[in-house]
C-alpha cells in the first residue's frame, strides 16, 4: 500500500495540496522553502475578522530543481481561503519574482519561475492590500520576463486561476492547464450575480467548464500546453515548454500577441457557446470535446492552428 505522505508523481494534481504538488513536481529532495511555516509569517488581518490563519498564508515559495535545472517556484493553496491574495501572500510572491529579476545572470541562477496558481483572486478581508499586491505581482512578473526569466503558470487546482490570478496567468510566458483547471477574470458566480442566470448560469457545471475550463483554454491558445490531471504530467509539460523555447518579452512579441487576439475576436467573437467555436474550427469531434480522453484531446489541440502560436 502506498504511503499517503510520500509525494506521488502519479497522484492527482487537482487533489494534491500545494506542498504535495511542489514535492511531486520538483526533483526529489531539492526544494528549499523561503519564509516557511516555522517563520509564522501569517496574515495580520484575519485575526481582526476572527478567522483562522495559515502559517504560510496559503502560499509556498522557494527554489528547487526541475530535471537538474534551477527553478524558483510558488504554489498557492487553493483550499485555504480559496487561495486568495492577501497582503503577506502577495508579498511572498512579489519577493520571489523580484529575486528572479535580480538573480538570473549567474551560471547557477534560476532562469525560470513556476507559478502553481490556485486562486479565486483577491482575499475579500484584505481587499485593498490584496489589490495592491496583485498589481505589484504583475509588475514584478513583467520585470522578471523582461529580464529574460521564463514564468510558467501551472493551473489545475480546485480554485482555478480567477480574478488577479487570471490576469497573472495571461501575463506569463507560458501556461500549462489540465481539464479541471479554469482561468478567467470574473468567476461564474460573479458573472451570474451581475448579469443574471440567463446570461451565465453558475450552477450549470458543463457550461462553466466549456467556457473557462482547461480544454477550451487550450484550444483557444489561452494555454500553451494541456496536462493530464497527474503531477508527473504537469512536470513533463513544464519541461517541454522550457525546452521548446520561451518567447522574448519585447515589442515584437506583444505585437504578435495583439494580432493573434484580434484575429481570434474576429473569427469567434460572435459565437454564443464553446461548441460553436469548435465547429468554426472544423474540429472533427466538435460535439464530444468535453468527453475526449486526455491523449485524444492533446492530439487534436496540437493539430489546431489557433491553439498553437509563438506569441505571448
Amino acid at each position: 500500500m502506498k504511503n499517503a505522505l510520500v509525494p506521488s508523481r502519479t497522484g492527482s494534481w487537482y487533489e494534491a495540496t500545494a506542498r504535495e504538488r511542489i514535492s511531486g513536481l520538483l526533483d526529489a529532495g531539492t526544494f528549499h522553502e523561503f519564509l516557511g511555516p516555522t517563520a509564522r509569517a501569517v496574515s495580520p488581518h484575519l485575526a481582526l475578522f476572527d478567522l483562522p490563519e495559515a502559517f504560510d498564508d496559503g502560499i509556498i515559495v522557494g527554489r528547487g530543481k526541475l530535471q537538474g535545472r534551477a527553478v524558483l517556484v510558488a504554489a498557492q493553496e487553493g483550499r485555504f481561503m480559496g487561495g486568495t491574495f492577501g497582503e503577506v501572500h502577495g508579498a511572498k510572491l512579489v519577493g520571489l519574482l523580484r529575486y528572479a529579476r535580480d538573480h538570473h545572470a549567474e551560471a547557477t541562477s534560476p532562469r525560470a519561475v513556476l507559478l502553481l496558481l490556485d486562486t479565486g483572486g483577491v482575499r475579500l478581508q484584505e481587499a485593498n492590500v490584496g489589490e495592491l499586491a496583485v498589481s505589484e505581482i504583475i509588475r514584478a512578473l513583467v520585470e522578471a520576463r523582461a529580464a529574460g526569466v521564463a514564468v510558467i503558470a501551472l493551473v489545475g487546482g480546485r480554485a482555478g486561476a480567477f480574478g488577479g490570478g487570471g490576469i497573472l496567468a495571461a501575463c506569463c510566458s507560458r501556461v500549462v492547464i489540465s481539464e479541471q483547471g479554469r482561468t478567467s477574470v470574473s468567476g461564474p458566480e460573479v458573472i451570474e450575480t451581475n448579469m443574471g442566470a440567463e446570461e451565465f448560469d453558475s450552477l450549470d457545471r458543463p457550461l462553466v467548464w466549456r467556457t473557462t475550463g482547461g480544454k477550451t483554454r487550450r484550444l483557444l491558445g489561452g494555454a500553451g500546453a494541456y496536462a493530464a490531471d497527474r503531477i508527473e504530467s504537469f512536470r513533463a509539460a513544464a519541461l517541454a515548454l522550457l525546452d521548446g523555447g520561451i518567447p522574448a518579452f519585447d515589442l515584437a512579441t506583444l505585437a504578435r500577441e495583439q494580432a493573434r487576439l484580434a484575429e481570434r475576436l474576429e473569427k469567434f467573437g460572435a459565437c454564443q457557446d464553446a461548441p460553436e467555436i469548435w465547429q468554426r474550427m472544423r474540429l472533427a469531434d466538435a460535439a464530444r470535446i468535453a468527453d475526449l480522453a486526455d491523449e485524444d484531446f492533446n492530439q487534436i489541440a496540437q493539430a489546431q492552428p489557433e491553439a498553437n502560436h509563438d506569441a505571448r
Binding site: L5, G29, D50, P52, E53, A54, F55, R79
Partner: protein
Amino acid sequence: METLFIQRDAAQRAPGKSPHALVGVVASGNLEVLLERVLDGVRCEVHVKTPAAGFGEVWRAVIEDFIERHAPGGLRISINDCGARPDTVSLRLAQGVRLMTMEASE
C-alpha cells in the same frame, strides 16, 4: 478564535531527525499541524487555535490520546484548526509524527 494549550510528558522522544514538518491544510473541516523538534527531553507541547468554541474537553482527550499512543517527546506542535472533527485531528497528528521521521528536505 479559542486558544488551547496542552503539555504532557511523552513516553519517549519522537523518532526521526526532521527539524520540522507541516501537514494538513486550513480548510473547512480540516486543520494544519506544524511540528517542531525544539523541546528538551520528552516534553510535548500542543498549541491549538480553533474557531469552534466549547470543545476544549474533546481537544484535551484527543491530544492526550495522541501523546499516549505516539510518544511525541521533544515536539512543539502548533495547530491552526478550521473546524476539524476529532478523527481528522488524530489522523493529522499521526501523519505529522510519521513525517518527522522522514528525511529532512533542506
